[in-house]
């Protein structure tokens, strides 16, 4: 197949398309030399060993955080020290991130379509609600409204949660799921039956 001429202008990099013989894509030499000399590394945001580390997390805080997260407490001094060290470096990292000036910038929650078109599509209008308003009826003459509720009680809504089981039904008791309560002495999170 002939090459499409437009490829010559992509990125001004001199990209010429896949190699005729091997079919492999050859990176341009300019790109290669640019990438071989990184100008930044995430390591710049981690604590350097020489720095005078002031503990920003106490042992008590660590234990509290583990409890909040339903994680087990450290089983040895070594493990605790290791956790504290990791936490310290993470806090340091976050502090570096926080140095960026974000005045006037709205925090990003998720990458979403934020075009006017999509905004219009998402907006709840009377049309959206019409089917539900139609389910209501006027009662009397004072403007009272009551939603019409189904006369038959529903018995099943389309999905059986017990499908999730391993077939041995270890979490099922009749039509209920069940959990066992109880703590062991050192306040570890409760252990559920296998």
């Amino acid at each position: 197949m002939d090459r499409v001429p437009i490829r010559r202008v992509i990125f001004g990099t001199g990209y010429r398309g896949p190699d005729i013989k091997t079919g492999r894509i050859q990176p341009s030499s300019r790109i290669e030399s640019m990438l071989s000399r990184p100008s930044w590394s995430v390591r710049s945001m981690l604590p350097h060993d020489e720095e005078d580390k002031q503990a920003s997390v106490t042992k008590e805080q660590l234990h509290h955080l583990l409890k909040l997260s339903a994680l087990p407490q450290p089983r040895s001094q070594e493990e605790e020290d290791g956790m504290l060290k990791t936490l310290e470096s993470q806090i340091h990292f976050v502090k570096e991130v926080q140095k960026v000036n974000t005045t006037g910038v709205e925090p990003l929650v998720a990458l979403r379509d934020e075009t006017a078109e999509s905004f219009r599509e998402q907006t709840v209008t009377l049309d959206t609600l019409k089917p539900f308003l139609d389910q209501e009826e006027k009662v009397g003459n004072n403007g009272t409204i009551r939603r019409r509720k189904p006369t038959e009680m529903i018995t099943h809504s389309g999905w059986d949660p017990f499908e999730l089981g391993d077939g041995k039904e270890t979490r099922k008791m009749g039509k209920y799921f069940f959990v066992k309560k109880g703590k062991d002495k050192d306040n570890a999170p409760p252990v559920l039956p296998p």
Partner: protein, 555 residues
């Protein structure tokens, strides 16, 4: 305003009157000395209460899944994967929930936000499958509303006649699964309720008595019911309240906590999961007393979560201290887009917003001549059904009479509330719309208004209708001989003559002394009433005949 339909057996009107009298300040418990001392002590402190109410929305689907939200008694039959936080399941916002939610917010006079967002509130518990609840912490659906409480709503003495309670916000959130204790170590879980749409209504700390706190919750429930936003009340677990309580000494400035922008308050504690109006009042009172005790003996109040139970209504107990405090780590939910609501939706719902009880009360008093107590009684009966029947009756009458207000409105009210009420009570019957046709009632009242029926005859006719007679009122009156046939002038004449002759000495006294002999005249009148046909004689005419016959000048 009472929401629960009270049985006819209870003397409803008496209850309301007692409540009205009590709220005017004549409490029994102020009599004893002990209470006088307690009263004095309380006078030095100010109680402040803020309340968070969680109400299940009246809607057909859950908040973020297509599972049905209708009632079912089959456990675990109404869930979709997202309700059990099955990995990979995604939230799908159900717009149906906005109808009751916006109505509730509008009825509470809030501003509906054009844009609102959803956040995650993290904590671990077996009824919270995802490990977080989806709520609206940062940008709720509605803000800045208020609610007015008056004496009739059951305010305490200290509140004065009327108070306005600010509402900080109304937000959408998920309900948890239902737990049942099988035994000491086993809990059974039903996920039907997991993911149901709730609204949380957060008040500002503007309440200052236990009575006002209970009145506030009661009023919110009645408003939600009136606009069809929530149809299961506290008694059925559809509405729960958490209260925040603090006290401060009135004469010092050391209280410097600030909650929701209200400053100068003492340290507050929270009491969760109160499930009746009375328990709100009792729990607030118990906690107030405890905090005053602690502070008066030199201690300090810790910010903690406490519990209250019916078995020990005078005390609250500590559930969770500072060290057990939960950090919810609120964060915006990245899986859920912001909610945008078109203004036309808000306008439409506002325009067609059903009337709240206050409006109906005002209408009854202004347009139908009711007293407040009677209006409240009527509104409370049969879930609003009695009111509608009453209005139908009046509507039939309007066709014939021009001046319904004050005269006929009150008369119909008397029949619907008191006469029929008495019949229902004595026969232990429950009212229902088909009991007596509204046209029949209208005819009865009309006949009585035209003086074609005396009081006693009308009551008899009512009884006949009550027992199920479907003939028209005109037919019944005719065939049962109930119509009032007034005595003719000749008959009055003859009767008066007979009575005067039989009591000539009294008659002479009247002849001689005229207006001075009122007592004797009444005696003669009484004789006429007793001897005349009970069903046909009218006292006024009889009296006039006597006066004419016995006037000093006439013959």
């Amino acid at each position: 305003m009472l929401l629960e339909p009270l049985p006819e057996q209870a003397p409803l009107r008496k209850q309301l009157k007692d409540a009205a009298r009590a709220s005017r300040g004549k409490h029994d418990d102020e009599v004893s000395e002990r209470d006088r001392v307690r009263h004095e002590r309380l006078a030095q402190w100010e109680l402040t209460v803020g309340i968070e109410i969680h109400a299940q929305l009246n809607t057909s689907s859950k908040l973020f899944s297509r599972a049905s939200a209708e009632y079912t008694d089959v456990p675990n039959a109404a869930s979709w994967p997202f309700d059990l936080a099955v990995p990979g399941s995604q939230p799908l916002f159900q717009p149906a929930v906005l109808v009751p939610a916006i109505r509730a917010a509008l009825a509470l006079k809030c501003q509906i936000q054009r844009r609102s967002k959803f956040d995650r509130k993290h904590y671990f518990y077996h009824d919270q499958p995802a490990g977080y609840q989806i709520t609206q912490y940062y940008e709720p659906l509605a803000r800045d509303g208020h609610l007015v409480l008056t004496q009739q709503d059951g305010l305490g003495e200290k509140d004065g006649g009327k108070i306005e309670i600010g509402i900080k916000q109304v937000q959408l959130e998920q309900d948890t699964a239902k737990t049942q204790e099988q035994d000491e170590v086993t809990s059974l879980i039903d996920f039907n309720r997991s993911g149901h749409a709730l609204i949380e209504i957060i008040s500002l700390p503007h309440l200052h008595t236990p009575e006002a706190a209970a009145a506030y919750v009661r009023k919110v429930q009645s408003i939600l019911y009136a606009v069809d936003a929530a149809t299961t009340g506290m008694e059925l677990g559809g509405l729960r309240a958490d209260v925040n309580v603090s006290v401060r000494r009135l004469d010092d400035n050391t209280s410097n906590h600030s909650y929701s922008g209200v400053g100068g308050l003492g340290q507050r504690t929270e009491i969760k999961n109160l499930s009746s109006f009375k328990s709100v009042e009792d729990a607030v009172r118990a906690e107030r007393d405890r905090q005053i005790d602690v502070l008066e003996s030199g201690g300090t109040i810790e910010g903690e979560t406490r519990g209250w139970s019916l078995s020990a209504p005078g005390v609250t107990r500590r559930l969770r201290g500072k060290e057990g405090e939960v950090d919810y780590r609120y964060m915006p939910d990245p899986d859920i887009s912001p909610l945008y609501i078109h203004p036309e939706v808000v306008e439409h719902l506002r325009e067609h917003l059903p009337p709240v009880p206050e409006q109906l009360l005002d209408m009854l008093c202004a347009n139908y001549g009711f007293t407040v107590v009677d209006a409240q009684a009527l509104l409370a009966l049969d879930n609003g059904g009695r009111l509608l029947w009453y209005q139908d009756i009046v509507a039939h009458l309007k066709v014939r009479e021009n001046d319904v207000r004050s005269r006929l409105g009150v008369q119909v009210g008397n029949w619907v509330l008191h006469e029929l009420g008495a019949l229902l009570t004595t026969t232990e019957t429950q009212w229902h719309p088909g009991l007596i046709d509204s046209q029949q009632m209208a005819d009865l009242v009309s006949l009585q208004a035209q003086n074609k029926l005396t009081g006693p005859s009308a009551k008899r006719l009512l009884r006949i209708l009550f027992d199920g007679d479907k003939r028209s009122v005109a037919e019944i009156a005719e065939e049962e001989n109930l119509l009032f046939m007034p005595m003719t002038d000749e008959e009055y004449d003859a009767l008066a003559d007979a009575v005067i002759e039989a009591n000539s000495s009294e008659a002479d006294v009247v002849r001689q002394n005229g207006k001075q002999a009122k007592g004797k005249l009444k005696f003669l009148l009484g004789q006429m009433m007793r001897q005349g046909d009970r069903n046909r004689i009218e006292a006024q005419r009889a009296e006039r005949i006597l006066q004419t016959k016995l006037s000093p000048v006439g013959a």
